[in-house]
């Protein structure tokens, strides 16, 4: 009896969750007979089972709800009120189930109120039409024919139940048998193809234990493999290989049993959002991506509540009312977006909304009031640092952070839950644009392939998922470690790869000077690529990721630890931690998750900037990708010819240009230079000191009238002048932009450059001119289309993808539609290149897709397109 009841409660709860989701879907798509049939079947099952278990309250409620839904099925339009009422009934059912679970019986009380309302709703829905029965007989569209045969069965079932209740025979004797029989009959009746997969319920503990045992088995196997490796021909080799394979399969199997799609944790959200939207008078779209991303069941349980909490917050506090949104020029529908995906041994879950964002001032004030930080120190914090206070214990229980409504957010609780499963949470907020949380959860207990390396005398494991390639660096060889000030870099296939010596990062480097040798583990995190320099690389090994002790979890450099085949413990390096230590945060994810935000802010995306000093103490910067090379030359090799400074460089004379009269070419010692090349020509900009390479948001805030300076931007918290390379190139070669002797071309190709950012237009136009193209710039897609409508013709078009109003994709599409430009090659420029974007680009007919700062790539693409068009 108990078991039966418990099973009923569990199953019904699961069914109700589905009903919730389906009903909300149905409301949006009332013509979908499939959804309705599904909901109907579930409620019907509940009702049926209640009858057998003699649960009159539940049965009566379910019956009333079912009757109302029956009307929908007969073609009565589903109104919002009606759906709300059914949802209310379902909530009541859940409530009853709860106490059923606790006390083994239905709670006292009555549901007359709801039942009356439900019945009234049925009446109301039918009133404008002919009486119910004839209407039913008339019936409606296709589903009706399918469902026609079950109608009698259903009625008789009701009768059966009523009979059961009326007779009051001891129902216990009958219960076990009729219940399953009835369920089967119903499924068949409705013809819903509930597939014949068999399943049993197993407690999580059982699986947990199994997983532990398998982990141990994997470790033991690794130890055996290690032993056999030492003995060349061992008779154990073959059986051990077999054992190894079986273990691997077993491991995979057990892992699978514990995995559940994250969609299970999201199931309740559409309903919650719908209800909140109704209550708050807001319009909210809930988008969910990657619902099938699987994660460990235990982890899932832990994040379920935090996720719900955050979505609720977004709906309640984050999103504005439709009126407010319209006033702000936003679409009236607010958007909450949930996404989940795997990344380098982690699962990333993001919750983003396009609401008002966090109120930085309020958080700051509160942090000061709570004594979390002194007022003086608070002034020095960046917005992002201030936002982090919302996770501080007890912080958010009181006054509002995101909203005017003044309710608490409880983010500290969320963070606690995430901490417990070894995860991290980060927040990004742009005032008026939106808020996004990124949760990173390690695949605890997961078994991953890892590269075993040595650095500073210790061994470490680097998850292979994030390793792109291995490069051996040696002084004097093709791959050598170069240095920009203190930042080591590797030139790899014409790209500068920032390097980090692992032993440096870990503080275990005992050497005084940097060594030129080592292995470089080229690692990718999100859109960021960098090299981790290690002393030695051993083998790869399947490792069982175990969470680090809570005493070590705060160290961002590790994602876990493991026991190797030889029995020793090693730490697993977290490439994300390394990326952070490199001084750049993985902000691209935010841009990925919400490209609209990027548009509003002029780019959440970051740019690699070379920061240097020349002439004044104020730092100057130039996008790293524009720089061909960084050199430090012996000042004595600088020659003076024709009143100009020159240096012999790679077999050519290279002119040196000073930023301004304050920058002196040094007389002795090392002279740092920024080299800009184009084909065979190079020029060098003389600077005083190369400071650093940083990743930052390039947002020019103050334009400049100074020749050679585009304007000022905040780079790593300091006002920095962004220099205009285009200004200096002609100073070296007066004809830099006007060279006629470019590899004999009959006519110069014309290029249409579309970009909403004046910075990029200013930056790219000279570069393209330098490469021999005639450039016409347009500040928007509309402007470009107008030019074409005016009769201007181009050989090739280059367009930014992320632009307000009409983006690059739409622009390319309208070019395709116009027969005058249908054949025009279009090159897309984007700071975010995802496979999704590439696919989209292919669909709309982009001929090529180039990263925004990849100057060489752009020129190569241009050349290819113009050559093709010439050949055609």
């Amino acid at each position: 009896m108990d078991d039966l009841l418990r099973e009923f409660v569990t199953e019904t709860n699961e069914s109700l969750d589905v009903v919730d989701v389906e009903l909300v879907r149905f409301e949006q798509d009332p013509n979908n007979a499939q959804i309705l049939a599904n909901v109907f079947r579930l409620v019907h099952t509940i009702k049926g089972t209640c009858g057998f278990l003699s649960l009159p309250r539940l049965e009566a409620l379910a019956h009333a709800a079912e009757t109302l839904m029956g009307k929908f099925r007969d073609g009565v339009p589903a109104t919002r009120e009606a759906v709300t009422l059914i949802l209310a009934a379902i909530d009541r059912i859940k409530h009853i189930l709860e106490s059923l679970d606790r006390e083994q019986r239905e709670p006292d009380g009555t549901d007359e109120d709801l039942i009356v309302e439900l019945q009234a709703m049925v009446e109301r829905l039918l009133s404008p039409q002919t009486p119910a029965e004839p209407h039913l007989a008339v019936g409606t569209l296709t589903p009706q024919t399918l469902e026609r045969p079950l109608r009698p069965g259903e009625d008789s079932l009701d009768d059966l139940e009523r009979a059961f209740r009326a007779t009051e025979v001891d129902p216990i004797a009958r219960r076990p048998k009729p219940a399953p029989a009835e369920a089967i009959a119903k499924d068949d009746d409705l013809g819903t193809a509930k597939n014949g997969k068999q399943s049993i319920r197993v407690t999580v503990d059982t699986l947990e234990h199994l997983m532990t045992m398998v982990s141990e088995l994997v470790l033991t196997r690794n130890q055996l493999l290690e032993i056999v490796r030492r003995h060349e021909d061992s008779e154990f080799k073959t059986p051990l290989q077999r054992l190894s394979n079986v273990t691997a399969e077993l491991q995979e199997g057990v892992m699978k049993t514990r995995m559940q799609p994250i969609g299970n944790a999201w199931q309740k959200l559409p309903r919650i959002v719908r209800d909140l939207a109704g209550e708050l008078g807001k319009q909210i779209d809930l988008e969910m991506q990657g619902a099938d991303t699987e994660l460990d069941r235990q982890v899932l349980d832990m994040i379920k509540d935090p996720l719900t909490h955050m979505v609720r917050n977004s709906a309640d506090h984050g999103l504005e009312s439709p009126e407010e949104r319209r006033a702000l020029g936003k679409p009236p529908h607010g958007r909450i977006r949930l996404s989940a995906y795997h990344q380098g041994g982690f699962i990333i879950i993001q919750i983003a909304d396009d609401g008002r964002g966090l109120n930085t001032e309020r958080i700051k004030a509160k942090a000061i009031a709570q004594g979390l930080i002194a007022e003086i120190d608070a002034e020095k914090l960046t917005e992002a640092q201030i936002h982090k206070f919302i996770f501080a214990p007890g912080f958010s229980t009181a006054a509002a952070i995101t909203s005017i409504s003044g309710r608490g957010v409880g983010m500290d609780v969320v963070r606690n839950n995430i901490d417990q499963i070894g995860g991290t949470i980060d927040v990004k907020s742009v005032s008026g644009v939106g808020l996004s949380f990124t949760i990173k959860i390690p695949l605890t207990l997961a078994i991953v392939a890892a590269l075993i390396v040595e650095a500073g005398g210790d061994r470490f494991a680097i998850p292979q998922l994030s390793v792109v390639e291995l490069v051996r660096a040696r002084g004097g060889s093709e791959h050598r470690i170069e240095r920009i000030k203190d930042t080591p870099v590797l030139r790899l296939r014409n790209k500068l790869l920032p390097l980090a010596r692992l032993s440096r990062l870990l503080g275990t480097d005992t050497r005084k000077s940097e060594v030129e040798n080592g292995y470089i583990v080229v690692t990718q995190v999100g859109t960021q690529t960098f090299g981790i320099v290690v002393d030695a690389v051993f083998h790869t090994e399947e490792i069982v990721v175990k969470p680090t002790s809570s005493k070590l979890r705060h160290i961002a450099m590790y994602s876990g630890n493991t026991i190797l085949g030889d029995g020793s413990v090693i730490m697993i390096i977290d490439p994300n931690g390394v990326a952070q230590a490199l001084g750049s945060t993985v902000t691209a994810q935010m841009a990925d998750a919400d490209s609209t935000q990027a548009k509003h802010t002029g780019g959440e995306q970051t740019t690699s900037l070379l920061v240097f000093r020349a002439g004044s103490t104020q730092p100057k910067a130039v996008p790293l990708s524009l720089v061909t090379r960084l050199e430090e030359i012996d000042a004595r090799t600088i020659e003076l010819s024709n009143g100009r400074h020159m240096v012999q460089y790679r077999g050519h004379l290279m002119p040196l240009v000073s930023m301004d009269e304050h920058v002196r070419v040094k007389g002795e010692g090392a002279q740092p230079l920024l080299v800009f090349s184009d084909g065979v020509r190079s020029m060098a900009l003389v600077v005083d000191e190369i400071v650093d390479i940083v990743e930052d948001n390039l947002d020019i805030q103050v334009a400049s009238d100074n020749p050679g300076v585009l304007g000022s931007a905040i780079v790593k918290g300091q006002a920095t002048e962004i220099i205009d390379v285009g200004h200096f190139l002609p100073l070296a070669f007066e004809d830099w932009f006007r060279r006629k002797e470019l590899p004999a071309r009959a006519a110069r190709h014309t290029v249409l450059l579309v970009d909403d950012s004046p910075f990029f237009r200013n930056m790219l136009a000279p570069v393209l001119q330098a490469a021999g193209y005639e450039v016409t710039s347009a500040a928007s897609a509309q402007e470009a289309l107008a030019m074409i409508a005016d009769g201007l013709r181009f050989d090739v078009a280059i367009t930014d993808i992320e632009m307000p109003e009409m983006d690059g994709f739409a622009f390319a599409e309208s070019l395709r539609r116009d027969e005058r430009t249908a054949e025009l090659p279009v090159i897309g420029l984007s700071s975010v290149i995802s496979t999704e974007a590439l696919e989209r680009g292919r669909q709309v007919g982009l001929h090529d897709y180039v990263a925004k700062f990849d100057r060489q790539g752009l020129i190569a693409a241009l050349k290819e397109q113009t050559d093709v068009s010439r050949a055609a």
């Binding site: 005493k551 413990v569 730490m571």
Partner: protein, 152 residues
């Protein structure tokens, strides 16, 4: 503290420096010789490293550092007392382990007010034995390194 007189506790005794300490026996899982310790760069100074003890990863806490004593001479022998807290295994590194003592709660005395604060913060009281003092170690407080709050 029961009034009926003889409530007593058993303690595993340990020498750290020249001080005798007692660890409540219920908290002690095992005593082992730490071998193949993997150091953890960037970890708090008190953490001596991690090791594999029969398939479990054990975090080692150097009691000398925790108590603010001088580091052990390189190569000097040491032992570890295994304890568990919230599902995690720890090993407290000590110089040597002694016998198990059964001590009456009545004879336990509060920390003297002039006790070195670094000792006082992990001490649960003092027992006066023949000729020497035994400090009761509060394992929870030893494990509270205050690292979890350091984030953000």
């Amino acid at each position: 503290m029961s009034d009926t007189g003889h409530s007593s506790n058993e303690y595993v005794t340990a020498m750290i420096g020249d001080q005798l300490f007692g660890l409540p026996i219920q908290r002690v899982q095992d005593v082992f010789v730490p071998e193949r310790i993997t150091r953890v760069p960037l970890a708090p100074a008190e953490i001596a490293g991690v090791l594999n003890l029969r398939g479990r990863i054990v975090t080692l806490i150097e009691m000398r550092r925790r108590l603010g004593l001088e580091d052990r001479a390189p190569g000097a022998a040491c032992m570890a007392v295994g304890v568990e807290a919230r599902g995690e295994s720890y090993g407290l590194l000590i110089d040597s382990v002694g016998e198990v003592l059964k001590l009456d709660d009545e004879t336990r005395q509060p920390n003297p007010i002039n006790l070195d604060p670094r000792l006082a913060r992990v001490s649960a009281g003092i027992h006066r034995l023949d000729g020497q003092l035994l400090m009761i170690v509060d394992v929870e407080r030893v494990l509270d390194l205050g690292t979890s709050a350091a984030a953000a």
